[in-house]
């Protein structure tokens, strides 16, 4: 029981971190960025290259990963989303193609085989019969810190409130003197950075491979769909629903079925209540 609780909390923390960047773009730009999983992959590989190939410090690895993520987000906004005038379906298709291109690019540079990443933080912690690696514990704590930080950023700072305003009403925000284009750009960069950090932790939790972008993308999609158009709190709650559902189905039903329930949840929620559990909220 305590095993389920601990594992559930840890996995959910990671999922929340994975989903938050995706939610951010969805609530501000109203587009689904299917290449979001590729940010995670780029972040993971950038960290791997800096730390394990170049033998540089881990902190530098994380910084490089964030840099790559920001760059990917900005480029994507500039080259794909803006020319398509944020037409949701066109963006969805274009980003799907882009994700496959990035996947091929990663194979090109790092070859096809999966890579094991050393844990970012070494050691294990035994608590109540469960063993918890410091690595995933760090990921969960980082996730909480980032989410709380983001929450205050959106609520308290000028830029954050502008992001929130654009997510509610683009025209209204523009009338109030906000440049929606600039806010969109900032959001895409921010989303890229969040995706890249999530990618570093996700890769250290599983492994690096050129097809690793699909699983986190589906988690992010599930969180956004089930939670409704993203609020930060909603993301956190739904990440816990999905995380616990997976842990419970893994330990009590069958490990192979862990993804099945997530898919069923997506389908049922979308068909029964297309606006998600928490309806349409603002960031």
């Amino acid at each position: 029981m305590s095993q389920i609780l601990i594992q559930g909390l840890l996995l959910s923390g990671l999922y929340a971190l994975i989903a938050i960047g995706f939610t951010l773009i969805f609530s501000v730009g109203r587009v689904l960025n299917l290449a979001y999983g590729a940010y995670l992959m780029l972040g993971g590989y950038a960290y791997f290259w800096v730390v394990q190939t170049m033998h540089m410090p881990k902190l530098l690895g994380i910084l490089v990963a964030i840099g790559v993520g920001v760059l990917a987000g900005l480029l994507k906004h500039r080259l794909i989303v803006k020319p398509l005038k944020s037409d949701p379906v066109a963006v969805e298709i274009a980003t799907l193609i882009l994700a496959v291109v990035i996947q091929a690019g990663v194979v090109l540079v790092f070859n096809d085989s999966a890579k094991i990443m050393h844990p970012i933080v070494n050691g294990v912690w035994r608590v109540g019969g469960a063993t918890v690696t410091y690595n995933i514990l760090t990921a969960t704590i980082a996730s909480w810190v980032i989410l709380i930080g983001l929450y205050y950023f959106v609520r308290k700072t000028h830029v954050g409130r502008a992001i929130s305003a654009v997510s509610m009403d683009v025209k209204g925000a523009a009338i109030s003197g906000i440049n929606p284009d600039r806010i969109n750009m900032i959001t895409w960069g921010l989303s890229g950075a969040l995706g890249a950090i999530a990618g570093v932790f996700f890769a250290s939790y599983t492994q690096l491979s050129p097809s690793m972008w699909v699983a986190p993308l589906i988690i992010a999609v599930a969180v956004v769909i089930v939670g409704g158009i993203g609020s930060i709190i909603g993301t956190l709650i739904v990440a816990h629903i999905i995380g616990f559902m997976e842990i419970i189905s893994t330990t009590l039903v069958a490990a192979e079925l862990r993804g099945v329930f997530t898919m069923l949840l997506i389908i049922v929620v979308l068909v029964m209540m297309p606006k998600g559990l928490f309806g349409r909220g603002e960031l």
Binding site: L32, E92, A94, E256, P274
Partner: protein, 316 residues
């Protein structure tokens, strides 16, 4: 858009299919196998186009439908020794039933959300196939040694060509009717179609059934051509990507577009092979697809049409 079927159209079809039928005399077996793949890809792309290109309900789960058709006939013929003459029609019917399942979400949601549900269907199927009754589906490894319908590249080629020809002409003729016009109109403005007193639910259901039926036929014959089936080859984002890109690059909402797209992509991949082995090909292929899509979302068909308008100075 001319709605009349003229002799000129029929002559063009005959010319095209006749020319294709002569190909085995001109090219080697290797190229022929490539064209067989292109033919099947064209069938899948046309099927995607009926379901998504026309009505605007973008399906990301097309491999789900193709996979159901392929698995049904593979399991029936391999595990239960059902003759192919029965297992393929059954597979098509099952796929159409699955297409109706797709249809339920389309009653309530559209646009990006619809695409996501279909994507979820595909992933769900991918995971279920491996877990539920692996004694039937063959689990992760799939089934190999499925009965093949034809022997040798030439026969396989004629079978795939005949299938593609029949499907293309039937879809083309269907789209020339008022029904086809109504389906395209749904893609433009669903409310307006409903306002004209047409039952959009029935129209959409029809499009979904036809799309699923074609996907089922394609999937079933494809598995009997390959002789094997595996979950990762079918329920895969890369496979989905190839189908969608073929339809979009060629030109959605046309018959010739998805076909042209399928051939263009297959040959792009094949011609890049000698110069760039391995992953580089997919990188370039994806980049070309992305650039083309960004430049003209309506595909090669539209680019050629515009070019012809410019050259002939027709009313622009």
């Amino acid at each position: 858009m001319s709605t009349q079927i003229t002799w000129k159209h029929l002559a063009l079809w005959a010319l095209f299919l006749g020319g294709m039928a002569l190909l085995p005399m001109l090219v080697g077996k290797g190229t022929l196998r490539t064209i067989i793949f292109a033919n099947y890809l064209a069938i899948f792309a046309m099927s995607w186009d009926v379901l998504s290109g026309r009505t605007g309900y973008i399906s990301f789960g097309h491999p789900f439908l193709i996979g159901i058709g392929a698995y049904t006939t593979a399991i029936l013929s391999y595990r239960f020794d059902v003759p192919v003459g029965i297992s393929i029609p059954v597979a098509v019917i099952v796929t159409m039933a699955a297409g109706t399942l797709f249809f339920l979400p389309a009653l309530r949601i559209k646009g990006t959300y619809f695409a996501l549900v279909t994507l979820a269907f595909m992933e769900l199927m991918y995971q279920l196939v491996q877990v539920i009754r692996p004694d039937l589906t063959g689990g992760t490894r799939g089934i190999s040694g499925v009965q093949t319908l034809t022997r040798g590249a030439v026969n396989g080629y004629y079978l795939s060509l005949a299938l593609m020809g029949v499907i293309a002409i039937s879809l083309w003729a269907m789209m020339k009717t008022r029904l086809g016009t109504a389906l395209s109109a749904i893609g433009m403005n669903e409310e307006a179609v409903e306002g004209s007193g047409l039952n959009t639910t029935k129209l959409k259901l029809f499009a979904f059934m036809v799309g699923a039926g074609v996907a089922g036929i394609g999937g079933a014959f494809y598995v009997h051509y390959l002789g094997s089936i595996a979950p990762r080859a079918l329920f895969d984002i890369n496979f989905l990507f190839t189908i969608i890109v073929a339809a979009l690059i060629g030109g959605a909402s046309t018959i010739i577009g998805p076909m042209a797209g399928a051939f263009f992509l297959t040959f792009l991949l094949e011609y890049l092979r000698p110069f760039l082995p391995g992953a580089e090909r997919y990188f370039i292929y994806g980049s070309i697809a992305l650039i083309l899509y960004m430049y003209e979302p309506k595909g090669l068909y539209e680019i050629l049409r515009k070019a012809r308008e410019r050259l002939t100075g027709a009313n622009a």
